[in-house]
């Protein structure tokens, strides 16, 4: 697989850094690919905006930061507007429909789902919004297998929350299926 660039964006506390780590581990450890994950550490990291980047490839990943995004996940309006210009032509934009109202212009495929709502209503906990998002992303991007992502989630989440997180992933995955169908 060629270099594939993903950026997960939203607000602090939505667990996007963790989601990025999971994605990278899924790719690198369970899928045998290369993956690098980066995030910002500046003052912006503690305030509102948060972003994590994952670059996946079956070759060496030299330049570690995203240059042209293949996929952008945007959980807030702010992050969607700020980052969508980095999306490459024909790239994938996944948004949380409850928060992103103003859609950016550009030549990309937009997938819209009430991600936070799914976490709250279907899984029962807002904290798993990130895992729901991972489910959707896995389904839509198809760069990593469902199985690998699940393994990576299980290796990362606190003991006792495995079931909850699996449910979150599945709900997301399902939502992804619906979006594709």
């Amino acid at each position: 697989m060629e270099r594939y660039e993903i950026r997960l964006s939203g607000s602090g506390g939505q667990g996007l850094i963790l989601a990025g780590k999971i994605l990278a581990e899924a790719a690198a450890i369970y899928e045998g690919l290369n993956a690098v994950q980066t995030q910002s550490y500046g003052p912006e990291a503690r305030g509102g905006a948060s972003k994590a980047e994952v670059v996946i490839s079956d070759g060496e990943i030299e330049y570690p930061k995203a240059i042209e995004l293949d996929l952008l996940l945007a959980l807030t309006q702010e992050s969607c507007l700020k980052y969508s210009s980095d999306l490459k032509k024909g790239g994938i934009l996944i948004i949380d429909s409850s928060f992103v109202k103003e859609l950016p212009k550009g030549d990309f495929r937009i997938y819209s789902a009430p991600i936070n709502e799914i976490a709250v209503d279907k899984v029962g906990k807002a904290v798993v919004t990130n895992i729901v998002a991972l489910g959707i992303l896995t389904k839509i991007s198809k760069v990593i297998s469902e199985d690998s992502v699940k393994k990576a989630i299980l290796a990362r989440v606190p003991k006792g929350t495995e079931e909850l997180n699996m449910k979150a992933f599945d709900e997301g995955f399902k939502a992804g299926e619906e979006l594709l169908s």
């Binding site: 910002s40 550490y41 500046g42 990943i61």
Partner: protein, 381 residues
């Protein structure tokens, strides 16, 4: 103590990889003072060291941390400190002490941007000359650099090995990108890498002279508590370790501090040469910029430009002979750096001829992209 995760694939930040590499090298003492973007090294070791019976201590400042690792090293523990620009400046006096007293230890500097507080969270490579010249007085210096988490792991081990072998502080430079990027590290099997331990005196205490001039110019310092009672000082000293003002002894001692690195430079220097055989233009790049350079290289070759990469993994001693050799073959050098051209100066110097050296300098806290390097090369050829 064996590393029980050998062969494993793990995702790690460069900083964490340094910590893990240190443990693999046998490091059992860390003293530090927190500073972005290096703090994860300390944090990781604060958890891990006591589990191995090692010691972690957060000191009152960087000066104290540097002092503590020298003390711990003399008491027999392989010792590490890690910091970033401002802390690196503060450590310089005691780094010089370790150099003068020939106490092995490792200092990691995860470079941030700018002078002073600068850009604490943004990448740069602005301390590469400071790593060589930051402390007062003259002596030889070993400085390594890493470009990835994998290399951070390996270079940390190498730093400890060189420190113990040459009885000297060894500096390892990471830039913020390397320190903070999480990527795959394949933990090597124990058989795949060497661990060098400090030489022990081969003479009984009454015959022992710690700073006796040996053929390899490297002293043999006994561990405190093992029955050898000698003096360690930062003053110029004779072979017993006691201060002297005798010009002949002083002169020989100071010269030896430089020579002990220089005569072994073949053993110390390691470069990665990529597609340099037929190259017409050579990129000189290190640290995270070397990654961009490798991408750029591929693109250049695609475009029919014969570019090659000279990537030093040891910045000091500077690989000047190797550069001179390459300079004789190429039409020019391209030196992309996240500073105002610090190592480009050395490339210029090493050439000893009019080979053009083209600089590409970014100092805005942003990484240099492969595209920028390609553009510069295209403009040059």
């Amino acid at each position: 103590m064996e590393n029980d995760s050998s062969g494993q694939i793990r995702m790690m930040q460069g900083n964490q990889a340094c910590a893990e590499g240190a443990l693999a090298a046998g490091c059992r003492f860390f003293a530090g003072y927190p500073i972005t973007p290096s703090s994860e090294i300390a944090e990781h070791l604060s958890v891990a060291l006591p589990k191995l019976g090692g010691k972690f201590i957060q000191m009152e400042d960087e000066i104290a941390a540097m002092g503590a690792i020298i003390g711990a090293s003399l008491a027999g523990m392989k010792s590490l400190t890690a910091t970033s620009g401002p802390g690196f400046s503060l450590k310089q006096e005691n780094i010089g002490y370790a150099g003068m007293a020939e106490v092995p230890c490792v200092v990691i500097n995860v470079m941030r941007g700018g002078p002073s507080t600068g850009m604490p969270t943004l990448p740069a490579q602005m301390d590469v000359q400071q790593a060589r010249w930051g402390s007062h007085g003259d002596r030889g210096v070993i400085v390594l650099v890493a470009d990835s988490a994998q290399e951070s792991y390996e270079q940390t081990i190498r730093a400890f090995n060189l420190a113990e072998k040459y009885m000297t502080p060894v500096i390892l430079l990471l830039d913020e990108i390397v320190g903070h990027t999480t990527e795959k590290v394949i933990i090597p099997e124990r058989s795949e890498y060497e661990i060098i331990d400090r030489k022990k005196p081969d003479l009984p205490p009454d015959k022992y002279l710690p700073y006796r001039e040996t053929e390899d110019l490297i002293p043999v310092l006994a561990t405190f508590g093992t029955g050898y009672k000698y003096n360690v000082t930062g003053l110029c000293h004779n072979e017993t370790g006691f201060p002297t003002n005798d010009p002949a002894i002083i002169g020989a001692q100071i010269k030896r501090l430089t020579d002990k690195i220089i005569i072994h430079k073949k053993d110390i220097i390691r470069n990665r040469m990529v597609m340099l055989e037929d190259a017409e233009i050579a990129i000189f790049a290190y640290g995270s910029v070397a990654r961009s350079a490798r991408s750029a290289l591929a693109k250049c070759r695609e475009a029919g430009i014969k570019a090659g990469l000279f990537q030093p993994t040891v910045l000091w001693p500077f690989p000047e002979d190797d550069i001179r050799e390459v300079a004789g073959r190429v039409k020019g050098f391209v030196v992309p750096e996240m500073n105002m051209g610090q190592m480009a100066r050395e490339v210029e110097r090493a050439c000893r001829r009019d080979t053009p050296v083209h600089r590409l300098n970014r100092v805005d806290g942003q990484p240099i992209t492969p595209g920028e390097i390609v553009d510069l090369i295209k403009g040059v050829v």
